[in-house]
Amino acid sequence: MRLTRNLVAAFALATIATLAADTGLTLTDKIKAHFPYADIIGFYIAFGLLSTYAIVYGAKWLGALLVRPDNDDGSQEHEDE
């Protein structure tokens, strides 16, 4: 648990540092974004969060169609094979 707490703290610090740096770069017009509209403050924040959301919930939706219970024999074989 201590390790997990330390990692969360490191993430929090990194969050603040990158936000500050992003703001600085954007205000000084030094952002050279690789796709349109990426040169605004907070673009990558939204991108990271929304992409995570889209991947997780997109996969969950897909998973409703594609997952089957594991037969738990250690083989990962499909149960009806």
Binding site: F47, T52, V56, D70, E77, D80, E81
Partner: protein, 577 residues
């Protein structure tokens, strides 16, 4: 030493592994791959070729240039690290298969003609299938047979394309393809090994069933050799941009559904190879160098991650996240080394992926492929989400299990050494990008460590971490398996058996019985003609005539038979004219 094919050392090593005793074989593996590294890095000169003629074909079994040398070098390096990782292994078959597999991969990347390429392509398929077959898990053998089936079909399509290409051009030299039916067949053959959807499912099916050491070689050779041949033959084919971005996303989406850490990493191979395939499709000089750098770095960090999950399998006997968790205090070194690989694949600054992956995304951007650039960034988020956060969290950190998983075996020292070597290279590549680019003989000028790139990447990854934290419950692994495009051929077994196999077997069985009956009757006729005639289903009149003929003098029978034969011949000749 420079004048022969690099694959020869490994072929000799594989042959020696088949006969040498167990105590020598681990050192043999390290030595064979080590000598190959030595030959490639020290002796083999750029622009060396070796031409030969065989059965009227002009062949080029050896072609050394910057591209082939980059791929060949990393194959030999991961061979050394994998052999160190496998020092504890005593399985003669797996050791020989790993060496032959490596020889196949090197043979492919140094092949200057398509015939040599096809031969080594098949060597890879058979050796890889054997590595999976010997995986020691309950499903290993079935997975190996499916792997072999898919790759034999892919190899046959490739061979058909090569023959068609030869018929069209009268040349077997392996150069860029312009288009046409032959090129498309060859592309499909390569796509099978590159695991391009929909012909990708063999990868996540087979790799997790290999042994801990076998999976290291598998993760390095097959798909990256395919990336090499795509770079060589299909650079600039725009369909590969679409297929590559689909691959990059496909892998990360399927990784959400995975409970098995080795299958999760297998899906991420598909995703990372997607970056490379996209770069092949873009086809500019920068994109090709980006794909090469990313393939090189990927072999190192993916090898490291596969090694670490293999260590987890060795220590706990399981690779399912629902059974793991909380391992970090008891496997600190493995966890730390795994994280070096995870940070590398996620393109965190100071690690290998950061100096390779941005070359691909930048190439996509500067070539005007904004949608592809956007989707590659989404795949970057997914990569960190699964390999940098989900897998380590549910394997080494958090766990809701009341009883932590038991450690049933000690991780051998060789495994630690192999992982440490791979981790050192991942960090070295990340710290010294220019040395890395010089080693790969790049001519472009890249500066990944600019404030813009560093901050954007960090921001993206940090907020992916926040997203992970917010969606932790949704990412909780479940004891499930996911269906993929291997479903049709897994389930085709029964219809194929009823509609094809059984009728064919019946036909062959009937033909064999008929042949046995003819042989038995002929044998009987030679020893006792009268008995044989009695056994034939003849009318009484015919049988009596035949028996009477048997009673005549042999000379008359012979003359009669001769006249009859002549008569038949005359009729035949008259009818023909």
């Amino acid at each position: 030493m420079s004048s022969f094919m690099p694959a020869f050392i490994l072929i000799l090593g594989g042959a020696a592994a088949l006969v040498l005793p167990a105590r020598i074989r681990p050192a043999l593996m390290v030595t064979a791959f080590g000598l190959t590294v030595f030959q490639l890095v020290v002796f083999l000169d750029l622009n060396t070729t070796w031409e030969a003629h065989w059965l009227g074909f002009a062949l080029m079994p050896l072609r050394v240039d910057a591209l082939s040398l980059a791929f060949g070098s990393v194959f030999a390096i991961i061979g050394v690290l994998g052999s160190i990782y496998a020092l504890h292994m005593r399985d003669r078959g797996q050791q020989a298969a790993a060496l032959f597999f490596g020889s196949g991969a090197l043979g492919v990347v140094f092949a200057g003609d398509l015939l040599t390429l096809v031969v080594f392509w098949e060597v890879m398929a058979v050796a890889a299938a054997y590595l999976i077959f010997q995986g020691g898990r309950p499903a290993s053998r079935a997975a190996a047979m499916r792997y072999l089936f898919v790759h034999i079909v892919g190899g046959a399509i490739l061979l058909a394309g090569v023959l068609w290409h030869f018929a069209d051009t009268r040349s077997l030299l392996f150069e860029g393809f312009e288009g046409g039916g032959a090129a498309w067949l060859i592309l499909i053959g390569f796509a099978v090994n590159a695991a391009i959807p929909p012909v990708h499912a063999w990868l996540a099916d087979a790799y997790p069933e290999a042994s801990a050491a076998g999976a290291v070689f598998l993760s390095a050779f097959t798909t990256k050799a395919a990336v090499y041949v795509l770079l060589r033959g299909f650079a600039g084919w725009e369909i590969l941009i679409i297929l590559g971005t689909v691959m990059a996303l496909y892998g990360v989406v399927y990784a959400v559904l995975e409970n098995d850490i080795r299958r999760l990493l297998a899906y991420h191979i598909i995703s990372q190879v997607g970056f490379m395939v996209t770069a092949v499709g873009i086809g500019t000089h920068e994109a090709i160098e980006g794909a090469t750098a990313h393939a090189f770095a990927h072999v190192l960090y993916k090898g490291l991650m596969i090694m670490a999950t293999g260590a987890v399998l060795t220590a706990t006997g399981t690779t399912k996240m629902t059974e793991l968790g909380g391992l970090a205090p008891r496997m600190k070194v493995v966890f730390t080394l795994y994280m070096v690989g995870a940070l590398s694949i996620s393109a965190v600054p100071l690690f290998a992926g950061f100096v390779s992956k941005p070359l691909v995304t930048a190439a996509a951007h500067y070539s005007g492929y904004d949608i592809a650039t956007f989707l590659l960034y989404v795949a970057t988020v997914g990569t960190f989400l699964h390999t940098g956060l989900k897998l380590p969290y549910f394997t080494w950190l958090g766990s809701k299990r009341a009883t932590p998983v038991a450690l049933i075996a000690k991780v051998p020292a060789g495994m630690y050494a192999g992982m440490a070597g791979a981790a050192a290279l991942c960090i070295a590549v990340g710290l010294f990008p220019q040395t890395f680019y010089d080693f790969l003989n790049f001519t472009g000028h890249y500066a990944p460590y600019n404030p813009n790139e560093v901050i954007q990447t960090l921001e993206l990854l940090v907020f992916t971490g926040l997203g992970f934290w917010l969606m932790l419950n949704a990412l909780e692994p479940k004891s499930t398996v996911s269906l993929d495009t291997d479903w049709p051929y897994r389930h085709a077994a029964k219809p194929v058996r009823v509609l094809v196999q059984e009728p064919l077997e019946r036909a062959f069985f009937t033909a064999e019985r008929a042949k046995d009956a003819v042989v038995a009757w002929t044998t009987l006729a030679a020893s006792s003609p009268e008995t044989a005639l009695h056994r034939l289903p003849l009318g009484d009149g015919v049988r009596r005539a035949a028996l009477a003929a048997l009673g005549r003098p042999p000379l008359a029978a012979a003359i009669g038979a001769m006249l009859l034969t002549f008569g038949v011949l005359i009729v035949f000749v008259v009818l023909r004219t």
